[in-house]
Amino acid sequence: MKLPPVEYEAPTTVAEAVDLLAEHTDEASVLAGGQSLIPLLALRLAHPAVLIDINGIDELSGVSATNGWVAIGATTREYVAEESGTLADAVPLLAAALPLIGHEAIRNRGTIGGSLAHADPAAELPAVARALDAEFVVRGQSGERIIPAAGWFEGYLTTSRGPDELLVEVRFPAAGPGTGISFQEVARRHGDFAIVGLAASLTLTGGTISDARLAFAGMSDVPVRAGGAEDLLVGEAPSAELFDEAARRATDDMDPPADLHGSSDYRKKVAAALVRRGLRAAADNAYERQ
């Protein structure tokens, strides 16, 4: 369908955007790459009175590395992040997930901040952010807040960003030596939303797992960490038996959603397979990087 009538604002600074958000709050939607918001408008699932287009705010775009963190501006397009050497070196898990987002034409417009603010639980970036404990920087008229990924995703398409706040930057910790990663997903076609996705990261210190991170996409109304499996892995040496047990622990008490692409049981089985596969690939990758 055609989009409903809507007012349009195109601020050129964060301060202007924040003032507009304070003025319109719930009546406004922030328009970044538009690859999720425009369909929501076309399908009448979103009814904003005003679109605040932040594409013209230059300070919101770019990738920079400092003090063990990589900061990505909210309107950095996914293809730009995909082509960033800084990101490929420092946050390989994110780099592995990026090519799986939608299709090329989607990544040419879609933004890192847009996907994370949209917070689709089946999308790749929320799982990566949750796995790596990314930090979300939001700005409102009363100043800046930093929200950890554990507190960012509140529910289906819902984050803890206030209606008068703008997501300006997302920070990912750089991977240290001995950290291996893998992003796994099962989807109907390349580029489709994952039926189940898994962001996995393992750090090996002297042959023992010193840090383990597993986050699922598509298993709940938010991206979820598999804390029990992570606890099991730390302190152990990688082995097929260990990974089998981790897969069981990661999925045993899960109750994933069912839809026409798969039942809840099917999703659980796929998730367990992805944990085994992801841990094996992450361990191999960690050996290479040691």
């Binding site: 989009l3 425009i38 090329e104």
Partner: protein, 157 residues
């Protein structure tokens, strides 16, 4: 509300005053009368409306016309301005790539942008690059054949 915009379309400077809610696709078709760009699903799934904006393939149904202000847009009409088919178009023609033609402009624009960046693409890369475009006639094989033939011909010339 309407917004005054100026942009380049197929090399020519164009101006307009689209409503803010008007997509680039509707602006091209309704305001500029460039109906070569087709609209299938109107929510970013089918790829029929793909055009090239500032060198990159985008879905013109997922971009507002006002957002294209100052940009360089190429539509399927811009590929053969003199009426002579380009290498890709001719290769697709020779491979009987299309049947009804509805998805054609989207596939051609997506493949055009992709081959510019990856002139030596192999079949797997081409399949992936075109995976966001839907065709309900051909079963895709003839489309892939056409793009592969274009790669081959460009290599030989």
């Amino acid at each position: 509300m309407t917004v005054d915009i100026t942009l380049s379309v197929n090399g020519a400077t164009r101006t307009g005053s689209p409503e803010a809610r008007k997509t680039l696709a509707d602006f091209l078709r309704d305001d500029l009368n460039l109906t070569g760009t087709h609209l299938g699903c109107e929510h970013g799934v089918c790829g029929a409306c793909t055009v090239i904006v500032d060198g990159r393939a985008v879905r013109s149904c997922l971009m507002l016309a006002v957002q294209a202000a100052g940009s360089e847009v190429t539509t399927v009409e811009g590929l053969a301005p003199d009426g002579e088919l380009g290498t890709l178009q001719q290769a697709m023609w020779d491979s009987h790539s299309f049947q009804c033609g509805f998805c054609t402009p989207g596939f051609v624009m997506q493949a055009t942008a992709f081959l510019r960046a990856h002139p030596d693409a192999d079949e797997q890369q081409i399949r992936e690059a075109l995976s966001g475009n839907i065709c309900r006639c051909t079963g895709y094989q003839s489309i892939i054949d056409g793009v592969l033939l274009a790669v081959e011909r460009a290599r030989q010339s």
